[in-house]
């Protein structure tokens, strides 16, 4: 009795698988059990056939359509009346991938030897990416766990060729293939750390996180104050962010070194010879006067002081 031969190398197995799929599609109008009966054992037989060489199975045995027709005729089954429904895009893509895979493996037969390495790299990458996306600062651990799991899946999944799970594995492989180089680069360059930066912070004066571009100061009587300087609680002068002048389209006088020639801590800002109290970009014009503040009840003024306070409240010329 002849003994079964050893399983075939991968490129041929892919060719065999694609060939049987195509033959089955040409038998697709028959009852499922007939199709199964006709094609059961075919994989082992065709693998053996392919191993004897002679190129692609389609060249050795005839294209799947002819093969299926001959099979039907010899088995006494009716010939196929219509062409099989064209395979869906997914099936077509899968067949193309199988062919590509078969072609690659035929050319570089040693590639399967690297599978274990690939499983580990794939698992490390996916573990890393998933946990990094989840915000973990130390995804290396996840990468190691992923590598171990992926190695297990890789070993267990040898021979899976159909069903939904290989689709998931294929997707995971694609993601890993895209991400593996950057992830491994980052992982092997530990000095690269992510520093959270406040990208919305402004260096100058701000209100609710938005930069303040100018200030208009009015005194207690509601009159405009020119060339006002304002200090904060620690004696630091308040200023607007000068970089804003680089962003705005305004014509701004420049110093010889290119920086804006504007005193950013004197309000309202005087830009060139423009009226500092003119309407701004959003159309708002600072009012000429504000309603004077109500007179503070405060401590009763001494007889000698009223004149001095009155003089102080007068705007300087």
């Amino acid at each position: 009795m002849s003994t079964p031969t050893a399983p075939m190398a991968d490129p041929r197995a892919a060719d065999v698988h694609a060939y049987i799929l195509a033959v089955r599609s040409w038998l697709g109008d028959l009852p499922a059990e007939d199709v199964d009966e006709l094609t059961f054992g075919m994989e082992a037989d065709l693998a053996e056939r392919a191993a004897e060489g002679g190129g692609r199975l389609g060249e050795v045995l005839g294209e799947p359509e002819e093969y299926a027709a001959e099979l039907r005729a010899a088995a006494g089954l009716p010939p196929r009346a219509t062409a099989p429904r064209p395979p869906g895009h997914v099936a077509e893509l899968r067949r193309d991938l199988e062919r590509l895979r078969a072609g690659i493996l035929e050319r570089w037969a040693w590639l399967p030897e690297l599978r274990a390495t690939w499983w580990i790299a794939r698992g490390f990458t996916l573990g890393w990416v998933l946990l990094a996306m989840a915000g973990t600062r130390h995804p290396v651990f996840a990468g190691v766990v992923g590598a171990v799991l992926s190695y297990g899946v890789g070993r267990a999944s040898r021979g899976w060729r159909s069903g939904p799970l290989p689709g998931v594995v294929l997707l995971a492989n694609l993601v890993a293939a895209v991400a593996v180089a950057p992830v491994l680069w980052v992982a092997t360059h530990p000095q690269l750390t992510y520093v959270e930066t406040e990208s919305s912070s402004v260096t100058g004066l701000a209100r609710d996180g938005e930069p303040v571009l100018d200030l208009f100061v009015y005194d207690a009587d509601g009159h405009r104050v020119d060339r006002a300087r304002i200090l904060d609680q620690s004696g630091q002068g308040v200023f607007v962010d000068p970089s804003f002048f680089d962003l705005s389209g305004e014509e701004v006088p420049r110093k010889p070194d290119g920086s804006p020639d504007v005193e950013t801590d004197v309000f309202p800002l005087v830009v060139g010879d423009q009226d500092p109290w003119a309407a701004g970009e959003d159309g708002w014009t600072p009012p000429l006067v504000l309603a004077p503040l109500p007179v503070e009840p405060g401590p009763a003024p001494t007889p000698s002081e009223p004149e001095r306070s009155a003089a102080a409240s007068t705007p300087s010329p």
Binding site: M1, S2, P4, T5, A6, P7, M8, E37, L38, F40, G41, M42, E43, A44, D45, L46, A47, E48, R49, L61, G62, E66, Y67, A68, E70, L71, R72, A73, A74, A75, G76, L77
Partner: protein, 110 residues
């Protein structure tokens, strides 16, 4: 004359004869037919014939599991198959005898 057409007419007998000698799986039977000289026999024709003979009750089939690769389907002959083989062999021999004398007579005449 196209040998392929001749083979098709007697493929049942050829397959039964090969399987009667020893059980085998599809491609093994194809190979043994070719080694015997039926080089033009098509793989799919043999598989189809095996399936038809099995459906007709002339063959038994069993699966031989493989730990490393896909399982194999073996065919063996049964009593019905041996009866079919005997009948077809008798018909074949008579046919060959008839054809032989026809051809020989033609050769003598020419």
């Amino acid at each position: 004359m196209d040998g392929t057409q001749l083979v098709k007419g007697v493929l049942d007998l050829a397959v039964l004869a090969v399987v009667a000698h020893e059980d085998g799986y599809g491609y093994d039977i194809v190979r043994r037919l070719r080694e015997a000289g039926l080089e033009e026999v098509g793989d799919a024709s043999v598989y189809g014939t095996l399936r038809r003979l099995f459906a007709a009750g002339a063959l038994t089939s069993y699966v031989v599991p493989s730990e490393e690769g896909p399982h194999r389907k073996y065919y063996g002959i049964n009593a019905e198959g041996r009866h079919m083989l005997d009948t077809q062999a008798t018909t074949w021999k008579a046919f060959v005898g008839t054809m032989d004398s026809l051809v020989r007579a033609a050769e003598v005449a020419s």
